[in-house]
Symmetry: C2
């Protein structure tokens, strides 16, 4: 998940017509460099090497349902409270049970990693103890308001361990494209 220093994954008033909220696309400037050799490309390549995706319903809808294919046709498990009446597009499956969702995604990915998309899905998996790692792309900006990555969690400590840290600066001349990739393992 790409997140601002003040913890937002989207600006305010996000919706289908403004998937990243007001000003939220600022968070994705670092992806401009995803094809340049270096840490950003490494991280982006890892994303595309995942063999299953778990997404929250909200993120999925805001992203136009990815037209049924997030990348390479890997299965996309969409966590939702209410299964839509219309059949899911492409590689999408709707799942209402968090642990079942995690189990299905792990099975589908095999030896590869599962990507998790959206704050809601991340929170649900954290609450269920099903999140193994957090890869945060920390962008040097304060959005001030918006949708937070971390909320709706119980007042229980989740101990982490920093297992990898990559950053593109100072090689990146434009500060707006800088990002720090922090990977934490859930202990």
């Amino acid at each position: 998940m790409t997140v601002s220093v003040d913890g937002y994954v989207a600006g305010p008033a996000d919706g289908v017509d403004a998937p990243m909220g007001a000003g939220g696309f600022r968070l994705f400037n670092w992806l401009d460099r995803r094809h340049e050799p270096g840490p950003d490309n490494q991280v982006y390549t890892e994303m595309l090497a995942t063999r299953a995706v778990i997404s929250g319903r909200r993120t999925y809808e805001h992203a136009g349902r990815w037209h049924g294919d997030h990348h390479d046709g890997v299965p996309v498990f969409v966590l939702t409270h209410d299964v839509p009446d219309d059949p899911p597009p492409g590689a999408v499956r709707y799942v209402t049970d968090v642990r079942g969702c995690a189990a299905q995604a792990r099975a589908a990915a095999g030896d590869a990693d599962v990507m998790v998309h959206g704050a809601g899905a991340a929170q649900a998996l954290l609450r269920a103890g099903e999140l193994d790692e957090l890869e945060l792309h920390l962008v040097p900006v304060l959005l001030g308001q918006g949708r937070r990555l971390f909320e709706h969690l119980p007042a229980e400590h989740v101990e982490l361990e920093l297992v990898r840290r990559l950053m593109s600066a100072p090689e990146v001349p434009d500060p707006a494209q800088q990002v720090t990739h922090l990977r934490y393992r859930v202990r």
Copy 2:
């Protein structure tokens, strides 16, 4: 400011009797190593080299008013909406105007830095455009709930630049003592 990965500077239900809230002292484990040579000592030494302190009223009260001396008798400017009736202890002065507070603290510190204490003070200075840098001691834990460092800010982008990054891991064998020091300049 020491902050959890999910953005909290104290656990829930902080108050005079529980200055860091429930479980919030977890955030300060890294300070156990403040006298060991290394990044943690470097950062701690820098704190003590500041020649003025700005604190929010809440932090100041929760910290027992530092008995009037935060460190070395440097002036402590306490931002408050209501000036208490009793005279401030020691080196403390009460200030109600944010910009005036910043100006007084800068003047008192001379060529040295001013330390800012507390989420409320940081937010007030950010809103007033008076914060030059953020030094975040990012602790690898999710607290789940508590007092956030970043809130009550307008939906306006504050662009940052990462100007320094220090971390003690992997030299620190105990993950609970690990911390990443991220210094951002406000652009």
